[in-house]
């Protein structure tokens, strides 16, 4: 592997590159799903190739190939340099990069049980058993269960001398029950919607989530939602469950702090950001208890945004994003860091695969835990709606105005959970929302949720990100507007 990487770097230099880096990657994936007691998807895939990024004439070029011979890699490196020279036909200045040290290292994400080495029969049997438990519930009309495993090896080499091998093992699992009744479709999922929970780790994650135990409840709640009261439209107190808050963080903090968005590089597709450079260290993003970090280090947790080095060869870091409610930091790379006065990249360049250019990406963007016990939080709340498990999410292209709906809500009255509510939703303006936060539950209730499907870039790249969150309370939130005029 390293010979081909060196070959690519040498070719790029000889063709005129002033800097180059390469990522050879080998991706393996296995997907197992069941639906209504039958096997759905049963597939595995592998892909191996090399992506070469070259800086020439002050501009970038990138080319990738799956032809892993000296000839193929050399041709690819030459193409990357040629594309860089073509880019310079429409440049407005030379690319500048902040310095970074060279590293020679090897790293592997932690796991206990490699799912690729375990019997498939047992994995399918678990899904079919969970599926059967959900189908036992009267009123359930569709049951789904799934497991996903990914093993990603990457070999990074750069012209400043870095040689870094990283191996990640990623596991995901989830179940869902849907009920169609009386012209209404209701759904419940566990442990999260849209595929469940995903994290770095092995099959131990699946075992820890005990899908079988939760399956009957998931089915019962899906069926029960039909007879639940409609969540009313009002302005009031909102308590968000951890997984929904994780997505709230993703959309209303994670994306707007991406410095490429802020600088207009995503204006045509993903959008820009309300967090213009003049807001840094000045904007009151949230209330005093709101502390958000971007932390790719393993000590933060084995999240989808955890690694040892980013795809630009920069070590994983923890960056304050919101400190005591104040806006403190962006996600940057070696090209953009100097624009906000940093001497070093915050280490957030990530790529989906060998055939994609690394771009600025969320790592683990997490809300630090607070002090509340969940039961105490409920007891302390006189009138509120508790919303759990995302159903839909949408936010404008500058990340101000959002609307989320969840699978299920609970009415809180006089410090107690009273009745189930269907079709709950809430909406707001990002900074107003975070400034209305007055209680965050403690680390005992904090989970590093995985969002496996974050899309960004052209061509589109899908990336996994992590979001640590504990249930939290927000005041004066607009509730129920998604269904207000139906």
């Amino acid at each position: 592997m390293w010979d081909l990487c060196t070959n690519a770097l040498d070719t790029a230099r000889l063709r005129g590159a002033t800097y180059a880096d390469v990522r050879m990657m080998h991706l393996r994936q296995r997907d197992l799903t069941t639906k209504n007691g039958q096997v759905g998807t049963l597939a595995q895939s592998e892909s191996i190739g090399i992506g070469i990024r070259a800086l020439a004439h002050g501009a970038w070029g990138f080319a990738s190939t799956d032809r892993l011979t000296r000839e193929g890699v050399s041709a690819c490196a030459g193409e990357a340099v040629s594309i860089a020279k073509a880019s310079s036909l429409a440049k407005r200045g030379d690319v500048e990069m902040v310095p970074e040290d060279a590293y020679v290292d090897s790293w592997q994400s932690p796991f206990r049980k490699d799912p690729f080495e375990l019997p498939l029969e047992n994995q399918l049997a678990l899904l079919l058993a969970a599926d059967a438990e959900m189908r036992r519930i009267k009123g359930v009309t569709l049951t789904e269960a799934g497991l996903q495993f990914r093993k990603i090896d990457s070999w990074f080499a750069s012209s400043i001398g870095s040689r870094i091998h990283q191996r990640k093992l990623i596991t995901g699992c989830g179940i869902a029950a849907t009920s169609f009744q009386g012209g209404e479709i209701q759904k419940r999922s566990y442990p999260n919607s849209f595929g469940g929970q995903h994290a770095l780790g092995g099959y131990e994650l699946v075992e820890s989530l005990d899908l079988l135990k939760h399956a009957p409840r998931v089915g019962e709640e899906a069926a029960a939602l039909h007879s639940a009261a409609q969540c009313l439209e009002k302005t009031g107190t909102l308590i968000l469950g951890g997984s929904q808050l994780g997505l709230q963080i993703h959309e209303s903090v994670g994306h707007p702090i991406e410095l490429d968005r802020v600088l207009g590089q995503e204006a045509n597709f993903a959008g820009t950001s309300f967090l213009t450079l003049d807001q840094l260290n000045k904007l009151r993003y949230g209330s005093d208890i709101v502390n958000v970090v971007a932390d790719a280090r393993l000590e933060h947790g084995a999240g989808l945004g955890s690694f040892a080095y980013d795809d630009e060869g920069v070590p994983a870091q923890c960056t304050d994003i919101i400190k005591d409610g104040q806006f403190r930091g962006y996600l940057s790379n070696r090209e953009t860091a100097h624009l906000i006065g940093l001497k070093r990249s915050s280490g957030t360049m990530r790529t989906e695969s060998w055939n994609r250019l690394p771009i600025i990406r969320m790592t683990n963007i997490s809300l630090n835990p607070g002090t509340w016990d969940f039961d105490d939080l409920i007891a302390d709340t006189d009138d509120a709606i508790l919303m759990e498990t995302n159903r839909s999410w949408s936010i404008d292209d500058r990340r101000y105005q959002f609307q989320f709906s969840t699978e299920m809500g609970w009415e809180i009255k006089g410090g107690k959970k009273t009745r189930m509510l269907k079709n709950p939703s809430y909406s707001g303006i990002t900074t107003e929302f975070w400034n209305s936060c007055d209680a965050i539950c403690s680390r005992d209730h904090w989970t590093l949720w995985g969002t496996p499907n974050c899309g960004k870039g052209q061509p589109m790249q899908t990336m996994g990100t992590g979001h640590g969150a504990a249930p939290s309370r927000f005041r004066n939130v607009k509730i129920g507007s998604a269904f207000s005029n139906q």
């Binding site: 639906k35 039958q38 096997v39 759905g40 998807t41 049963l42 597939a43 595995q44 592998e46 190739g49 501009a59 970038w60 070029g61 990138f62 990738s64 799956d66 032809r67 193929g72 193409e79 040629s82 594309i83 020279k85 073509a86 880019s87 036909l89 429409a90 407005r92 200045g93 029969e121 399918l124 009309t141 569709l142 479709i185 600088l263 207009g264 590089q265 995503e266 204006a267 045509n268 597709f269 309300f274 994609r356 250019l357 949408s394 936010i395 404008d396 292209d397 101000y400 105005q401 609307q403 709906s405 303006i429 052209q458 061509p459 507007s481 998604a482 269904f483 207000s484 005029n485 139906q486």
Partner: protein, 468 residues
């Protein structure tokens, strides 16, 4: 594997990056034959092989300069084996015999791990396909320098107008071949090109985009000028209260919203009771002016004329004068429903069944200008953004307007308007269509390309307003 490429010279005489080429079809057939030969020795009852090859390039610009510029070449071989009423798939991008044999064995290993499926159908035999020609040599030969010069001209328009441009100019080639152990063989290749531009005039922006098989089908500079003019008009947006408005939706806005409707036309979706068409087939659901067909052979469509099992795609009248009339079927769902397959199945095994992918709306004789002229008070919508489903049965969608929302008063565009959030049922929207323009190939960001008209729609529901 090899990636043969030809080189050229730029007009400036400097060396240029090569444009990509694909393998000849016979090479894909050779790979398929190799897999089928190897599979015979492994105990597979039946085998199906997909070979997909892409060579794509994309030049990306922002702040009036190219900031990303990429090229990729890749080939995947995807193998489905069937053994004793069990099936599974394994995919690799390595095409040496050892790797192909390993993928066959992986597929068999997965297949053996599951219970028998008594409903699993045998692979289909030979099929006949209508030819389509969507491979354009000039598009295949487009170079990074040509894209860069077009980008520079678009950026020059922005600079001349005091604006900032961002966007992409992409081109590429792709081909697919599918063969199986019962003698079926299907192959398809196409070129594609896309130009998208956002013009920003602080604090406003506007957007234009085109996508076609041929790079000659659109003019990047014309798109740049259109986006530039609209961005200038979008400055000084005023805030209006949320509520129900008559809207004139440009084709891209129509596309991105109605795109969420069509997975519901899968027979499997109805069987699963997750379709909004459950209990609604054959009954008036939309306005009488709404007719929708799925037609892979339409001259404005792209995509292979066969489905994931190699069944020829049929033309299917999904909606006729407001009434949902037909669904699309894979072989499996067709057998369950005692119908004929329509050639819309996804590659097996999968849990979603099928979907129409080549949608063509019947158009009308109106135009954006006529729609605006006939509107006493309404909104002109350039595009929609971040659309997600709120209610799957009533098909209520939420999302934002983006890159150009304008107030129409007494038949004329009078000012820009701050962007709204909408919560709108697609079913209701398609009952409220007052005028239709001619159907065109539209491209957006939320749905795949379709042939759709601009629409004038009454009582479109905007629920909240944002800050810009």
């Amino acid at each position: 594997m090899s990636t043969s490429r030809k080189s050229g010279k730029s007009p400036a005489g400097k060396s240029t990056a090569p444009s990509a080429q694909l393998f000849p079809e016979r090479e894909l057939r050779r790979i398929i034959d190799t897999v089928l030969r190897l599979a015979k020795t492994t105990g597979a009852d039946e085998t199906e092989v997909h070979v997909d090859e892409t060579a794509d390039s994309l030049t990306r610009f922002a702040n009036n300069a190219i900031h990303q510029n990429v090229a990729e070449h890749g080939l995947n071989v995807s193998i489905r084996t069937v053994v004793d009423h069990r099936t599974a798939r394994a995919t690799t991008n390595r095409i040496d015999e050892d790797s192909l044999r390993a993928a066959i064995e992986a597929s068999l290993s997965l297949a053996h791990s599951q219970p028998k499926d008594p409903h699993l159908l045998p692979l289909p035999g030979k099929q006949r396909y209508r030819r389509v020609n969507r491979f354009l040599k000039d598009t295949a030969a487009l170079t990074p320098e040509e894209r860069a010069r077009a980008v520079r001209r678009a950026c020059d328009i922005a600079i001349q107008n005091g604006q900032v441009a961002a966007g992409i100019f992409a081109s590429g080639l792709q081909q697919s071949a599918l063969g199986n152990s019962r003698g079926l063989f299907a192959a398809y290749r196409e070129t594609h090109a896309e130009f998208s531009i956002t013009m920003q005039e602080n604090p406003a922006a506007s957007w234009a985009k085109a996508n076609a098989a041929s790079v000659r089908a659109f003019d990047p500079q014309r798109l740049a000028r259109r986006a530039s003019e609209k961005a200038h008009l979008a400055v000084d947006a005023r805030e209006l209260p949320p509520g129900r408005y008559t809207v004139v939706l440009e084709p891209a806005a129509v596309l991105d919203l109605v795109g969420f409707l069509f997975y519901d036309f899968a027979a499997t979706a109805l069987e699963d009771k997750r379709s909004c068409l459950n209990d609604r087939m054959g009954k008036p659901l939309f306005g009488k002016n709404i007719s929708i067909t799925d037609d892979a052979h339409h001259p404005l469509q792209l995509g292979a004329p066969f489905d994931g099992e190699g069944i020829p795609r049929q033309q299917v009248a999904l909606v006729d004068c407001g009434v949902p009339k037909n669904l699309v079927y894979s072989r499996s769902s067709a057998k369950s429903a005692n119908k004929k397959p329509t050639g819309h199945g996804f590659a097996l095994p999968n849990e979603y069944g099928e979907a129409p992918m080549n949608l063509v709306f019947a158009g009308g004789d109106s135009s954006l200008e006529k729609m605006a002229a006939s509107t006493d008070r309404g909104l002109l919508v350039t595009r929609l953004w971040y659309i997600r489903e709120v209610d799957p049965y009533e098909k209520v969608m939420t999302g934002m307007t983006r890159d150009g929302l304008f107030l129409i008063e007494k038949g004329k565009v009078t000012s820009a308007v701050r962007n709204f959030r909408f919560n709108q049922s697609i079913l209701e929207m398609l009952r409220n269509v007052e005028q239709l323009g001619p159907a065109v190939r539209a491209t957006g960001e939320e749905a795949f390309e379709m042939v759709v008209p601009a629409m004038k729609v009454r009582d479109f529901h905007f629920s909240e307003v944002t800050k810009f």
